[in-house]
Each structure stands twice: as C-alpha cells, then as structure tokens.
C-alpha cells in the first residue's frame, strides 16, 4: 500500500470513531511518540529502570499534592496541574536520591534503584490510604492515575500532550549529538568538555515529564513499559541511532493507536493496559522478525551459511575422490573433470555426514544442474558444476596454504582473517594470494584458475 492509501485508511478509521475516542487516540499517540523518543535514549544510557523509579516515586508526590490542596481548601485537591507538579517533584527527588544512594560504597545501582523505588511507592500507598479516610477522598479517584484512564482524556489534555510531544521532539533533535555522545561514552564526552551532568539532567527531566504526563492515559505504573518497550523492539530493526529513535517513536505511536482503537471497541478493557499489551506484541514481533538479529532472520542466515558450507564440502569431496581415483594430474580442466563418473556411495563414505544431509545436499546440486545422473547410474559433474568444484577446491587450498605458510600475516590483514573464513575469499584476494604463491613457485597443490563464472552460463537450461 502507498503512503497515501494508508493515510486514507487512517482517516476513515478515525472517521468511524466518535469525537471523544478521537481525542483519546490523538492523546495516546502523541504520548507514545514522546515516550518512544525518550525511551530510546534512556535505553542506550542504560537507565531503563530510572523510568520505573520515576513512575513509582510520582505516587507519593501526587498524593501529597492532593493532601496539601485538600487541607488548604477542601474539595480543591483534584486540581490537575497541582497534581502533575507534585508528581514531577517527587519523581525528580527520587531520581536524585537514587544517585546519592548509588554513591554509597557497597550499594550498586540495582540495589539503589530497588531501595528508592519501593521506599517511595510504599510512602505513596500510605498517603493514598490516608486520603481514603478523607470525606472527598473516595471521589478523588487517585488510583486512576496508577493504572490510567485514557477514556477521560479531553481536548485540553490533548493540547498538553501535543506540547509535551513537541517539546520532547525539539529537545532531542536539538541535543541529538550531545545525548548520543553522552550515552555512548560518558568519559570521552566529559573529557571533550561537554557538560555531562547537565545533559544527564536534561534526559532525566524528559523522563519525568513523559512519565508524569503518562499518568492520565496509561497510568504511572505502566509508563515505564511505554518508555522502554518500543525502544527495545526498535533495536531489532536498526544499527543506527537516528533510525533507532525514529522506529522507537513509530512503535510507540502504533502500539498506542492499536491499544486505543481496540479498547474503544471493547469498553471494559483498560486503554493503558491494552497499549502496553500491544507494545509487548510489537516487541515479540520485532524479536522474531526484526531485520537486525531477529530470531527468524538469524536462523535463516545460519541455515543458508551451513548449506553453503555443506555444498562446498560435497563438491570438494567429489573432486578429491576423482583426483585420487583417476590420478588426475595436478590441474584438470572443467571439461576433463565433467567427463569423469563417480558413485554416490564412494562420496558418501568419504564424508561422515548423516544420511539425510547427504541426500538433501545431493538433491540440491542435482536441481541446480551442477551434477547429473547418467544412464548407467553414475553421477557426473555438468560443465558448470565442474567449474564450481574447481573453484571451491582452489579457494580451500589457497586458504589452507596461506594459513600454513604465512602464519605471520602482514599488517592490517589479521583482522581480515575472520572475514575471509566467514565469507570466502573475494576475487581480488584470490588473485593476490595466487600472486604470492606463484612468486614462491608453490602452486603445485592448487588447481588451475579460471576466470569468474559467467552468471548467464551458470544458469541451468
């Protein structure tokens, strides 16, 4: 589908939704984008759990703010800006406290996070219990902020969320380089003179802002999922930082949209929980199908790699068998090699393979048209197959000789060794190697070279 038709589809879907659902959709998607962007940096900075601390520690601030307003003038407690500020202040305090506790000699970061997280959340629950005893406490529905109540989002909230998302986008774009170098190599960034503490503060502030604004829709306790899951999922699709941030934002938006739309159809399912579930689904899909290190991709690559190795091994086994049996002098041409019959039993016994693998690889070579079965029940190379076999053997022996004779590799070459064994020698490297051996008069074991296999000629008729 083209971008335009996606747009039309989105428009139609939106058209199906009523006004309030559209507001909720806009709000959650904007939040998903903001959380995806901030989460990507949080993940790379290895501060994923800071989001968790922020969200749990927002609870006591939220409750305290409610209490303060309520005591000053009963009934005014559920004033949203006040609650947001309270939540943000206590979240920030908790992150600061974590940093302090972390510096105590025998306390590592995980312990510091756990201590502050449980401490502040416990305090929050205590305050919520006190609020329950207030006359207006039951009507305050403060627990909505824990698990979110996206359905209650109205136009004003969407405006706020637009502001938050735009702010996050502008800040991360403006400080992209700086946040990148901070996340990758803090010491280097500091040595270059970047104000790392201030940059860290900026990132923390973004996390707090996103977490606190998330409390209305997905809820405080699920905010960390919205921060981190899209970023983790995005890591399976890209090896570049800008890509990671963009994909993370996209997944955040998609999960939010899907969760909102589905929960609009099934009223009893909470929007926040559904958004998180969709985030999880995107994570699992990415884990399996992601183009970078996704499980399926990795499995397929490994399988293909193994098959290539097996094919090469079979070609070489046949070549070596023919070489020994027919007393082929040094370098048979492809025409001569294709002429020689061989039996599958002899090749099978020279390879110590499970029978199934042997059958499979043999069948592959037959369908490729590299080998064929003559009327007498003997196998023979086709001309093309013979060329492949010679090429394979030549590569193999060149490499063996190289390792044997030039164990002290020239500068700059050692690192290439892994590559060469992984992907086979490139043609340029083959030529260099041949030059090396020719100069030494050491070509006796290497079959004659021929020029690159013509792709068109290679196609079986």
């Amino acid at each position: 589908m083209t971008g335009l038709s996606w747009f039309v589809l989105a428009q139609r879907t939106a058209g199906l939704l009523d006004y309030s659902t559209r507001m909720v959709l806009a709000g959650t998607v904007l939040l998903g984008i903001a959380a995806g962007i901030v989460g990507a940096f949080l993940l790379l900075r290895k501060r994923s759990l800071v989001g968790d601390v922020a969200s749990h520690a927002a609870v006591p601030g939220l409750a305290a703010a409610f209490l303060i307003f309520e005591i000053n003038s009963p009934g005014s407690g559920r004033w949203l800006p006040g609650l947001l500020i309270g939540a943000a202040v206590s979240a920030a305090l908790a992150i600061w406290l974590t940093e302090r506790v972390k510096r105590i000699r025998y306390i590592k970061e995980d312990a510091a996070l756990a201590v502050v997280l449980s401490l502040s959340f416990g305090l929050g629950v205590c305050l919520l219990t006190i609020i329950q005893s207030f006359p207006s406490g039951n009507q305050a529905h403060l627990t909505d902020f824990l698990f979110g109540r996206a359905a209650a989002l109205v136009e004003g909230d969407v405006l706020t969320l637009t502001g938050v998302a735009a702010g996050v986008l502008v800040m991360t774009l403006a400080f992209f380089k700086e946040l990148a170098v901070l996340s990758f190599d803090e010491d280097f960034a500091a040595a270059q003179g970047w104000p790392v503490a201030k940059l860290e503060l900026l990132l923390t502030a973004l996390v707090v802002v996103v977490t606190v604004t998330a409390m209305q829709s997905v809820g405080l306790l699920l905010a960390v999922a919205l921060l981190i899951t899209p970023a983790v999922a995005a890591r399976f699709w890209t090896d570049r930082l800008p890509g990671l941030v963009a994909i993370s934002a996209g997944i955040g938006a998609l999960a939010s949209a899907a969760g909102t739309i589905v929960s609009a159809q099934i009223p009893r399912l909470g929007t926040g929980a559904l958004i998180v579930v969709f985030g999880l689904i995107f994570f699992i899909l990415s884990w399996f199908f992601g183009s970078k290190r996704g499980l399926v991709w990795a499995w397929w690559e490994r399988r293909r790699g193994n098959r290539e190795i097996h094919e090469a091994d079979l070609l070489r086994a046949v070549y070596e068998l023919l070489e020994a049996k027919n007393d082929v002098e040094g370098r048979p041409g492809p025409e001569r090699l294709a002429d020689l019959p061989w039996s599958r039993a002899a090749v099978a016994s020279s390879l110590t393979w499970p029978a199934r693998r042997f059958e499979r690889i043999l069948a592959t070579l037959l369908t490729r048209g590299w080998i064929w079965l003559d009327a007498d029940g003997h196998y023979r190379f086709t001309l093309h197959g013979a060329r492949r076999a010679i090429d394979t053997v030549r590569r193999h022996r060149l490499w063996e000789l190289y390792l044997l004779n030039y164990a002290a590799l020239p500068a700059g070459q050692i690192d290439r060794a892994a590559d060469i064994t992984e992907h086979g020698l490139t043609d340029a490297e083959m030529e260099r190697l041949e030059g090396l051996f020719a100069a030494r008069g050491d070509q006796s074991q290497v079959p004659a070279s021929f020029h690159k296999i013509d792709a068109r000629e290679g196609e079986p008729a």
Binding site: F184, D185, A191, Q192, R240, P410, I414
Partner: protein
C-alpha cells in the same frame, strides 16, 4: 605552592603537581609530581591498582581530586581542552551501541561542530580520512560490534586523531589487540611525535617500553621514577614499582628457561 603556575612554559604539554586522588578515603595517588616533555612519547607503567588510569582521568577532571594542580600547556584544562585528546579504555564503552565506525569517529569532531549544529558531509569526510589513516576505510559503515578488538581500538584512535590535538592521553591502547594493530598504533604514535605532538600512554608490556617510548613514568600510587627510558627504566626501578610481583615473574621466567632445553 611557592612556585606559581604562571612560570610554566606553555611548551610543557602536561604537568602535575602534588596530585592526590582517593577512592573512598583510600588514596590511589599521593603527591604525584610529573612533567611531560614536549614531542615525546611517555609510557605510564605500574602494577594493577597503581593509579595509572586514575592519573589520566583525574587530570581530565573525570574524577574529583583531593588536592594538587594539573596544567596542560601551562594552562588549566578548560582553556586548552581542544589541544588535548583522550582515548579511554576500549572496555569502557558498550560496543553493541547502535553506531557505525564512522559515527564514532565523527564524535571526535562534535566539539568543533558545536551545540545545535548537525554533522555535515565535510565532517564525515574528515572522519573518513582518519579511518583510512588507521586502515579501517572499508569498515566505515560497519556497526561497531562487528569489528575485532584491534579494529575497535583503532576506531578510538581515529576519533582522537580527528581532534587534531597536541597531546594524546591514551588508556591502555595496546590491551587485547592483535600484533598488526599494535604495530599500527606504534607507527601512528611515532607519526604524531614527528608532527611535534606528545602522547602519554598507559602501557602494560614492560618489554616493549624501550622500543616504543622515549620517556617513562613508573607509578605505584606515588611516582617511583620518571625520565628518559634509557636512564630510569632500570630493573631496580621496575622492581621498586612492581614490588614483589616482578621478582616473582623473573623467577618463573628463569625456571622456565631452565626447563625448556630438557622438554
């Protein structure tokens, strides 16, 4: 201090006076005094825990100092930061980070690019030249985890090279690299020296110190000896720096050399 900082010649790339650094009240460096000479390669050697990395990090302001004074080219670091390049230990970063080799090298230019400005094509060209200088041209667009240890170290060097500094502080650039990379780093250091630059390099292989370096600073929480390799890198000073450990090593080596002909 009786001798003011102002009398320092600006040609001295690096000077440390009475530097004391401690971790959790345990002093790691105590009253370290050291003057690096210009256009020289200085090896920083000492046993594990001697405070070699700490000296570099404290000088760069990465960890707090208890007391003392550090000058680069006769000035505080903040004034001459652009003349100093730092190569951290390779193991100090996460190599799974989603960046390519050239992205990392471009980071060396970030300071020159400045706040709020994007990386431009000419910056990438500069970075590419540095990558080619360390023979990593073909690997520019590889994700950094797909590089070998030696290649990763050379990416770090390229990142320092693009800074076009006059003093290079390198923390164990030879740790865990292959022989080819080791030779490449040495050639690079000698090239820098030929251009009139200096380097202070944390180094572990005592045997190669005389071959690679001009000067040496033997450190074990305090300065054991400092000066030209030929004068101060004596077995006696090494023994003093390494305490019993080197003696033990020598004994083992001696025993091995006795056993070898028999086996």
């Amino acid at each position: 201090m009786s001798s003011g900082a102002s009398d320092l010649p600006s040609s001295v790339p690096f000077q440390v006076r009475d530097l004391t650094v401690s971790y959790h009240r345990r002093p790691v460096l105590r009253d370290v005094d050291f003057v690096a000479k210009p256009e020289r390669l200085t090896a920083l050697v000492g046993p594990n825990g001697a405070g070699k990395s700490t000296l570099l990090k404290a000088s760069l302001g990465l960890i707090p100092i208890v007391s003392g004074d550090v000058r680069f080219f006769g000035q505080p670091l903040a004034v001459v930061r652009h003349r100093v390049a730092y190569v951290p230990q390779r193991t100090s970063v996460d190599w799974d980070f989603p960046v390519t080799a050239i992205d990392v090298v471009v980071m060396g230019l970030y300071r020159r690019i400045g706040w709020f400005r994007p990386v431009l094509a000419r910056h990438r060209r500069t970075a590419m030249q540095a990558l080619e200088q360390v023979e990593l041209g073909p690997f520019a667009s590889r994700q950094i985890s797909q590089l070998s240890g030696g290649q990763q170290q050379r990416v770090f060097l390229a990142r320092a090279l693009v800074q076009q500094a006059d003093l290079y502080l390198m923390d164990e650039p030879f740790a865990g690299v292959d022989a080819a990379t080791e030779r490449a780093i040495v050639a690079l250091m000698h090239g820098l020296r030929a251009e009139g630059k200096s380097a202070i390099v944390v180094h572990h292989d005592l045997q190669t110190v005389p071959e690679y370096f001009d000067d040496v600073l033997l450190l074990n929480n305090r300065v054991i000896a400092a000066g030209p390799v030929s004068e101060v890198f004596t077995p006696e000073n090494q023994r003093r720096a390494y305490g019993g450990k080197l003696v033990l090593l020598e004994t083992v080596e001696h025993q091995l050399s006795l056993e070898r002909p028999r086996s």
